[in-house]
Symmetry: C2
Subunit: 203 residues, 2 copies
DNA sequence: CGAGTGATTGACTTAGATCAATGACCGTGG
DNA sequence: CCACGGTCATTGATCTAAGTCAATCACTCG
């Protein structure tokens, strides 16, 4: 569904853009930096991170190959989060000014951009909703149900389980335990790269 | 800052719009309904609600006088949440089609709309970040610091404390206790309509 | 072959959820 | 005008699930 999701960016923009190669952990911007543009992820994975008062790092957004990163920053002066490469990644940097100009000039482009932002908002709302589920088990199940691919049973694992724990707002230990328990009870099956829901074992 | 935030909607759109008066609890749309348009809140307060598997209601967005409600739905076919009036409210309903047409026709309007959506995204991210703070006390403090008005000390209370508890993802009991404790320790002062931070008593 | 990290499991603690009860404060209808 | 049902605010007692600390094993990367 979002495989080649950037086809809509006009060729003229792609030409002025700059490719960069990042190693895992490389920063792409810091909180407070002036916004220079937005980033397309060609391969790998970028994370948007904030730090709580207690120093805990929070992954706020994760963009994978074919997705944009930090779109919302287009309309800000400075970044409000840190951006880092979660793994070795190739990206393309689009300068801010030409993008904004293109959005003004091309209503189709603008509409698509708005539609993406709207989806982004809805996804964030969904995540927020998830967080209102207190039970680790139910939270995880809710996530798995929503994250299941077309067949409704397969959840491919991008990144590590630790990342998943962070996204769910759980400690990794609790996630491991809950997964182990669900597996023992037959609700899910696991491989290193995916989780499978076993139909008929919901709750 | 967001007092008269809807001035940017062109007069032509306002003319075709329909006013409605809502009593507390009145629904404005249900999950799965076809999207008919977006809503401006003239007075009162609208809530976007979802229901978790366990039947708990989650307030996902709250729009107050002068704000738009369910903008993100413009680009969807059906609503993904329930919309209800949190209190007696006056609203104006803008039909979907003319809004979309106006956004295509007017680059300024489109740009402003995109900027709003971007802010929306950032606000949601901030809320998500808040949820990663586990301690009720720190979560509350973080909220108060961010929600403080210009003077950096006053947090006006819209709605009930129960609503605030829901927004923070805490039970109301815990919120009451935490507020009581903070007050006892001198970190905050309270009136029925506002909370005041006492400088020099952070953390 | 270490150093670093992820995955996993055990033991223990605690903060927040839950259950429960009370008083204040509506608004409303008789 | 007042009694009554409803909700909010508040506080106490108790419980439990998630967090925390800790140890082990398997990998991978240089």
């Amino acid at each position: 569904m979002s495989r080649s999701s950037l086809d809509w960016l006009p060729q003229s923009l792609r030409e002025g853009a700059q490719p960069r190669t990042l190693a895992a952990g490389d920063p792409v911007f810091h909180t407070g930096d002036k916004v220079y543009g937005i980033i397309e992820v060609v391969s790998g994975r970028l994370h948007m991170v904030r730090h709580t008062i207690e120093g805990r790092a929070v992954v706020i957004q994760s963009s994978r190959a074919g997705e944009l990163f930090a779109e919302a920053a287009l309309f800000s002066d400075v970044y409000h989060c840190d951006g880092v490469a979660a793994e070795a990644s190739d990206v393309i940097v689009f300068d801010r000014v030409p993008i904004l100009a293109a959005l003004r000039a091309d209503p189709d482009l603008a509409e698509q951009f708005m539609a993406r932002q709207a989806r982004q908002v809805q996804r964030l709302r969904t995540r927020l909703e998830q967080r209102n589920i207190r039970s680790a088990r139910e939270r995880l199940m809710q996530y798995l149900l929503l994250a299941a691919e077309g067949d409704g049973r397969t959840i491919p694992l991008e990144g590590t389980l630790k990342d998943l724990a962070a996204e769910l707002g759980l400690t990794h230990e609790v996630l491991y335990r809950t997964l182990a328990q669900l597996e023992k009870e037959g609700g899910i099956k696991r491989t290193p790269t995916a989780i499978f829901l076993v139909p008929g074992n919901a709750v």
